[in-house]
């Protein structure tokens, strides 16, 4: 039902929302001087005004500046996690799919990793190595490697029977060439779909970790941290809580819409996708 309603949203909306946040995170700071850590003690907890468009928090820091800086953190966690997890996962999947005796072993290890909750792993990691961006990206990468490995592995096995792959073998292509020229290009659409969902999930997990205090440490303007801090002032200063929440919700919504539209496109072209598993990950 919800799915049908979502279908009606024009395809530009998802991309538009993501583009908006990219703009806020990277283009806006070029033109406007943003400082998420500067405090204006006199102005603390002041409502949205001409001077502070989104108001200020309990230390008198501009919410607009903090949300823009938070967008940067969220997008970078999402992007780095996705790129690293995709690179490692696709490699594992390709090796598993092509080297028969390694395939079973690699996939069992992958299954083991998949059974382990990513947030829990991140908490352990933070407990051992302290809070920080790298710890979070590392933990999330480990969490999402299996997703990419599984999809790649499955598609490689499926594509080995595909007409054009058998044709490539019969023509005389070497195995590396078959993988790089014939299998990988046909995997990319479904992997892109997967990547948008992994990116969205990584952003949610990072925010959740910030919220429970296991993510980035409080002065850093992570959206999760901001939601956590804003709770205390919910009754007197709604903007401190509401704007970070809206930011998280809109970015995730945008990414999911974008992924959905890409997956529609890909399906329309007749290729298989991992869209079903992707929805499972997000929900």
């Amino acid at each position: 039902m919800l799915k049908k309603r979502l279908r009606k949203i024009p395809s530009g909306v998802g991309a538009g929302i993501v583009a908006f946040w990219l703009f806020v995170a990277y283009i806006l700071p070029i033109f406007v001087d943003l400082d998420p850590l500067a405090t204006f003690p006199v102005e603390r907890l002041s409502p949205p005004s001409a001077e502070f468009l989104l108001g200020t928090d309990q230390f008198g820091r501009s919410m607009l500046d903090r949300i823009a800086a938070g967008a940067r953190i969220s997008l970078e966690v999402g992007a780095f996690t996705t790129i690293l997890a995709a690179a490692i996962g696709i490699t594992i999947g390709l090796i598993g799919g092509y080297v028969k005796y390694l395939g079973g072993l690699l996939m069992r290890v992958t299954d083991g990793l998949m059974a382990f909750p990513g947030a829990l792993f991140a908490i352990v990691l933070v407990a051992v190595f302290g809070q920080g961006f790298l710890q979070i990206v590392f933990a999330l990468t480990v969490t999402f490697v299996p997703t990419f490995a599984r999809i790649t592995y499955g598609e490689v096995l499926a594509l080995q029977g595909a007409g054009y792959v058998r044709n490539a073998v019969s023509v005389g292509c070497t195995t590396p060439r078959v993988i790089v020229r014939h299998i990988l290009p046909n995997l990319i659409p479904s992997l892109i779909v997967q990547a948008t969902f992994v990116c969205a999930t990584a952003i949610i997990v990072e925010a959740s970790l910030g919220f429970i205090g296991a993510g980035l440490a409080p002065p850093d303007p992570s959206w999760g941290v901001m939601v956590s801090e804003g709770q205390a002032f919910m009754r007197v200063a709604w903007w401190v809580l509401v704007f970070p929440c809206l930011a998280i919700a809109s970015l995730i919504f945008g990414l999911c819409l974008l992924g959905d539209k890409i997956s529609d496109r890909v399906e329309g072209r007749g290729a298989k996708t991992g869209a079903e598993t992707a929805e499972g990950v997000v929900s």
Partner: protein
């Protein structure tokens, strides 16, 4: 013309391809423990040879093992028995460099042109790739050969940078043929190359194949289930039933005077369908009974369960493919007499 014990027809001194007792079986695994509980005997001892420039057709019903035979001959799979000798070299278990050298000389055209062309490559890349893979010629030579091949198969040169998804089935099969011809193979294995195409397009592709063979002197193995199609392209036809060749001979002789009861059955199906203009072996045949499963083929002659002439001998002894004169071989204890009116036109 006395019967000989030699299983092959008198052909040129050095056949291009000589296949002997080729066998291909696939294990059947139990659901839980993956134990081997049986075998699918797709190809059960097939022997034939092809001279340079010759065109051999293999016909049979679906499931008779003809596609497996094609895949084994091009060595997409390794046979479980018998031997394949190509150009004097045993390639039965070739691997690595030997296998790649074989791939250059033996190319394959697949049945479904909608599946067999990588949708992410352009026509130019598709046709050039075999030359790149086998390091044939310089970049310029490869490019000019791509253009030549486009002309040869009737693909507009201006469409060379398009992807196969923008072409029709017939055009895609032309592209697939150009790709297969690119490394100048000596043998082209065509696995039902026209059965996925419309009838009008079929004729064009068959004409193209005949024209190319006349011009380039390549040998063909043409797998098909439509006798009318196969006879248009092939010098000789082998009839396959349940993983074995039951009859092999010159196309016209074999079609005019079949000596194996199965071939006769096929041809009577032809007569029934002649008005159609197409002879499709996937249609129900007038012979009685079901095709036995390749999991559990009958003892002796594979066809005996459906054969009107079967005796006890057919159940106990498997007939070998024997030369019976007029360049024809038949695997039957009681081949039909030439005077047998029912088999004559």
């Amino acid at each position: 013309m006395t019967p000989t014990t030699d299983n092959t027809l008198p052909v040129a001194a050095t056949p291009l391809l000589k296949v002997e007792d080729l066998e291909m079986k696939f294990p059947l695994h139990s659901a839980l423990l993956r134990r081997t509980i049986g075998w699918i005997q797709a190809v059960r001892g097939v022997s034939f040879s092809i001279s340079p420039g010759e065109s051999l057709g293999i016909v049979g019903e679906s499931g008779c093992g003809k596609s497996t035979l094609a895949e084994t001959v091009v060595r997409l799979t390794t046979p479980t028995g018998g031997s394949i000798v190509f150009n004097g070299r045993d390639v039965t278990a070739a691997a690595g460099g030997d296998l790649r050298r074989l791939r250059r000389d033996v190319q394959m055209v697949f049945q479904d042109p909608f599946q067999s062309l990588n949708p992410r490559m352009t026509v130019r890349q598709l046709i050039r790739e075999p030359m790149q893979v086998h390091r044939i010629g310089t970049v310029e030579e490869q490019q000019s050969r791509v253009a030549e091949l486009c002309d040869a198969v009737g693909i507009d040169r201006r469409l060379i940078d398009r992807r196969p998804t923008t072409f029709s089935g017939g055009q895609r099969q032309r592209i697939a043929i150009a790709r297969a011809l690119a490394p100048k193979p000596k043998l082209l294995v065509l696995d039902e190359p026209v059965s996925a195409l419309d009838t009008s397009v079929q004729a064009q592709i068959l004409n193209l194949l005949n024209e190319l063979r006349a011009r380039m002197g390549i040998s063909y193995i043409f797998i098909g289930h439509d006798l009318a199609v196969v006879r248009q392209v092939c010098d000789r036809i082998g009839v396959m039933y349940l993983g074995k060749l039951v009859e092999l001979g010159e196309s016209e002789t074999l079609l005019e005077a079949p000596r194996h009861p199965y071939t006769q059955t096929l041809l009577s199906a032809v007569k029934a369908l002649e008005a159609d203009g197409s002879i499709d072996l996937t249609e129900n045949l007038p012979s009685s009974g079901e095709v036995p499963s390749p999991k559990n083929p009958p003892s002796g002659c594979g066809f005996r369960t459906r054969c009107a002439y079967a005796t006890d001998e057919c159940a106990s002894d498997s007939p070998e493919l024997l030369d019976i004169g007029s360049l024809q071989e038949v695997a039957c204890h009681f081949p039909l007499k030439l005077t047998d009116g029912s088999s004559r036109k």
